[in-house]
């Protein structure tokens, strides 16, 4: 009797609501307080439900801007970026950002509208098979078929996006699902039998690595973005100091180890430091942590860490052994694994000679450029930005020369301040990402370093910046060319600058003015410093058009197909 009464009461608690309202309920339950998006026909019911809610929505001026902003948010805020776009072109405009988030393992939950279930498959107005399109570039994706499934799917989507190796998850919601009424049962648990990421490492393998450390004379730690996702910076620092192991970073791993630390060798890879790349070439024990041995890091694999025992710590088992043969595979989260390693490894190898040797290389062959003449050197510009922000700012970039100079000269000492498009190398990423980063971490200064070409790919988001009065400093490293393309044409294509020079460009200062944004153009070091300081103090957005030397190249460099020891442009 009592049981039936309880059941009756439970039943009355089940709320009836529309799919769009269920989405809002579920988002609030996940603690989502900001959405990045753009409305359209198929998401009208969702935007109508949003109208009544207290969730902030950032209306970017292009869907690509929305997803890059969400990426910037996810990178610095430590929670998933959430994106909404409509069906068809709205959804396909997200594709670049989704692919970017996939390859850089950024947690995103993306909601796309879809045409009504009754017309799916008929080439209806604004129909695109976004689930099919994004299958290879999402960690997982869903199309909602029944309104009652929504709470479960959203719960799963957030779980998948931010656990294990993070990544983008897309949920496609047909318009009739958003409008149809169903009973809302909040989903509290996930049931994903095919998804159980290993976070606790196998102790046997950890012990093997501890033994290898005890015997190693030339060990090196390669720390990637996995260290940042796992918040394992302290453990890695302790590990390096305890055993006197030099540390290098991947591009995306910058900030996971203090750049001013004596054991830090700088970034490794195609434009890495001579010391870091030599360490990877000469080492007898390579400990990769949360890094995926990308081709831009390793150079020609035949010359990469050939003398080393390779230990690879990664939460994604598929990354281990993918590119580099691994003797000590450890599947686990970087934090747990590094902590276990600290407990297990009590004996250090004799690394003093190695540490001295690398310190000597770091000293003799630092990053270098010739600061001469009146022209502003881009490297100097980045040093100025570092000095003025004391290395505390969040810095975002696109891809190319300005990205490499930022990686080389900004000097990141703190985690999650570095937002860049690493794996996909997306032009137009940095500026919208800076908007998302500022929203995610309003207390920190944010500098968007972009190229003059990349900035023109997503500059429409200046409207958002002005609308929200966000104090973001945009630094255009303006060399009037597609710098990295131009550099490769200079070095590898006998200076045939095919379609890489952009002498005709807008007056960026006037352009900013058109959006109501303060701006300045600078040509010398002194101007750059003065105006950047002014921009940093400004209460609102500021655009700085920095006219830098247009023929400057990024060095040192490993030419494509060459080994990590065959660097060109090392300081003589």
């Amino acid at each position: 009797m009592k049981a039936s009464w309880v059941a009756e009461e439970e039943k009355s608690k089940v709320l009836k609501m529309s799919g769009a309202d269920m989405l809002m309920e579920a988002l609030e339950k996940e603690g989502v307080d900001v959405l990045f998006g753009y409305p359209g026909g198929a998401v009208l019911p969702i935007y109508d439900a949003l109208y009544k809610r207290n969730i902030k929505h950032i209306l970017t001026r292009h869907e690509q801007g929305a997803i890059h902003a969400a990426q910037g948010f996810a990178r610095v805020a430590g929670k998933p970026g959430v994106v909404i776009a409509t069906s068809g072109p709205g959804a396909t405009n997200l594709v670049t950002g989704i692919a970017d988030a996939m390859i850089d393992s950024l947690p995103l939950v993306i909601f796309t509208g879809q045409v009504a279930t009754s017309v799916i498959g008929t080439d209806a107005f604004q129909e695109a098979d976004i689930v099919g399109i994004t299958m290879p570039i999402t960690k997982h994706n869903y199309q909602v078929r029944k309104v009652e499934e929504l709470p479960r799917i959203i719960k799963e989507a957030f779980h998948l996006a931010q656990t294990g190796r993070p990544g983008p998850v897309l949920v496609d919601i047909p318009k009739d699902i958003s409008t149809s009424i169903g009973s809302y049962k909040p989903s509290n648990e996930v049931d994903l039998p095919g998804y159980q990421p290993t976070t606790i490492p196998n102790l046997l393998q950890v012990k093997r690595l501890a033994d290898a450390i005890a015997q190693a004379k030339k060990p090196v730690i390669l720390a990637g973005a996995g260290v940042l996702f796992a918040k394992a910076e302290e453990e890695i620092l302790a590990l390096a100091e305890q055993h006197r192991i030099p540390v290098t970073n991947t591009l995306l791993g910058l900030g996971s180890f203090p750049s001013e630390h004596p054991l830090f060798l700088g970034m490794a890879g195609m434009h890495g430091t001579y010391a870091a790349n030599t360490a990877l070439h000469e080492c007898d024990l390579l400990i990769g942590i949360g890094a995926r041995f990308d081709d831009r890091l390793t150079g020609n694999l035949a010359h990469f860490a050939q003398k080393a025992t390779v230990a690879h710590i990664d939460i994604d088992p598929a990354e281990i052994g993918k590119n580099v043969e691994t003797l000590i595979p450890i599947v686990g989260c970087a934090k747990h694994t590094a902590a276990a390693l600290l407990r297990e490894s009590t004996t250090s190898g004799d690394t003093e000679e190695w540490v001295c040797q690398l310190a000597e290389l770091k000293n003799s062959y630092p990053l270098w450029y010739k600061n001469e003449g009146d022209v502003l050197k881009p490297q100097r510009l980045l040093e100025i930005i570092h000095e003025e922000t004391k290395g505390e700012a969040i810095v975002t970039t696109d891809v190319g020369q300005h990205q490499m100079w930022t990686a080389q000269y900004y000097g990141f000492s703190k985690p999650n301040r570095w937002v860049t498009s690493g794996g996909l190398g997306t032009m137009g990423f940095g500026f919208p990402a800076a908007i998302g980063a500022k929203i995610g971490k309003p207390e920190l200064p944010v500098v968007a370093v972009t190229g003059d070409a990349g900035f023109q790919m997503t500059l429409q988001e200046l409207s958002v910046l002005q609308e929200m009065k966000l104090p973001v400093v945009i630094v255009i490293v303006n060399n009037q060319s597609l710098g990295m393309v131009r550099q490769w044409q200079e070095i590898f294509y006998e200076e045939r600058y095919s379609e890489s020079l952009l002498p005709v460009q807008p007056d960026f200062v006037k352009l900013a003015a058109a959006y109501g944004i303060e701006a300045a153009s600078v040509t010398t070091e002194e101007e750059a410093r003065a105006k950047f300081a002014e921009a940093l103090d400004s209460k609102g957005p500021f655009l700085l058009d920095c006219r830098v030397a247009s023929d400057e190249n990024v060095y040192p460099m490993i030419a494509p197909g060459k080994g990590i020891h065959q660097m060109i442009g090392v300081k003589p």
Binding site: P136, H140, L160, P193, G194, P317, A318, G321, K322, P329
Partner: protein, 172 residues
């Protein structure tokens, strides 16, 4: 090398597409693929016959398949004692003289004629690859009009020899 891999997957829409898509993306050549649901209709079994270059590629394939959210289990059966079968339907041209000859040819294969018309017969044969290839070669001189093959489906045998080949065990 040729590998026979089975994947136990959740029977959700698009799951086959996910697996074939990732194999295309990572340049694995699918020789055949069969799908059917298991005793539980929400769970399907996919048998993939695939050509891989070496052990490292194979390990990568197994891990990538396993990484899919809808995939519950991945197994490489190649080195195991297994039963593997495929079914083929073969339509062969006949004349009144050859009809009985064909009957005699297919008998040792335990194949059967499942359709007869004036000009041709359709033969059903089940077996491993070699057996199906053999019967096709024997029937070829009579004129094969059409062949339809299912691709391989496979299962480990109930009794396995003890294996010490550690390569089989992935670190997942």
């Amino acid at each position: 090398m040729r590998r026979i891999i089975t994947a136990t997957v959740l029977n959700r829409s698009g799951v086959l597409n996910r697996l074939t898509g990732l194999m295309t993306k990572r340049q694995f050549n699918i020789e055949s693929i069969t799908v059917g649901h298991s005793d539980d209709p929400s769970i399907s079994k996919i048998t993939i016959v695939v050509q891989v270059e070496d052990d490292r590629k194979l390990e990568q394939l197994l891990k990538q398949l396993h990484k899919q959210i809808d995939v519950l289990k991945v197994k490489d059966l190649t080195e195991m004692a297994l039963v593997a079968r495929e079914l083929a339907l073969i339509k062969v041209m006949t004349t009144p003289e050859t009809r009985s000859e064909i009957k005699v040819i297919i008998e040792p294969f335990r194949a059967s004629i499942i359709d007869v018309s004036l000009e041709n017969v359709t033969i059903e044969v089940t077996g491993d690859n070699d057996k199906v290839e053999a019967i096709i070669e024997l029937l070829r001189p009579y004129g094969i009009k059409e062949i339809s093959r299912t691709g391989l489906t496979a299962m480990p045998r109930g009794t396995q020899k003890t294996v010490y080949n550690l390569n089989q065990f992935s670190i997942i």
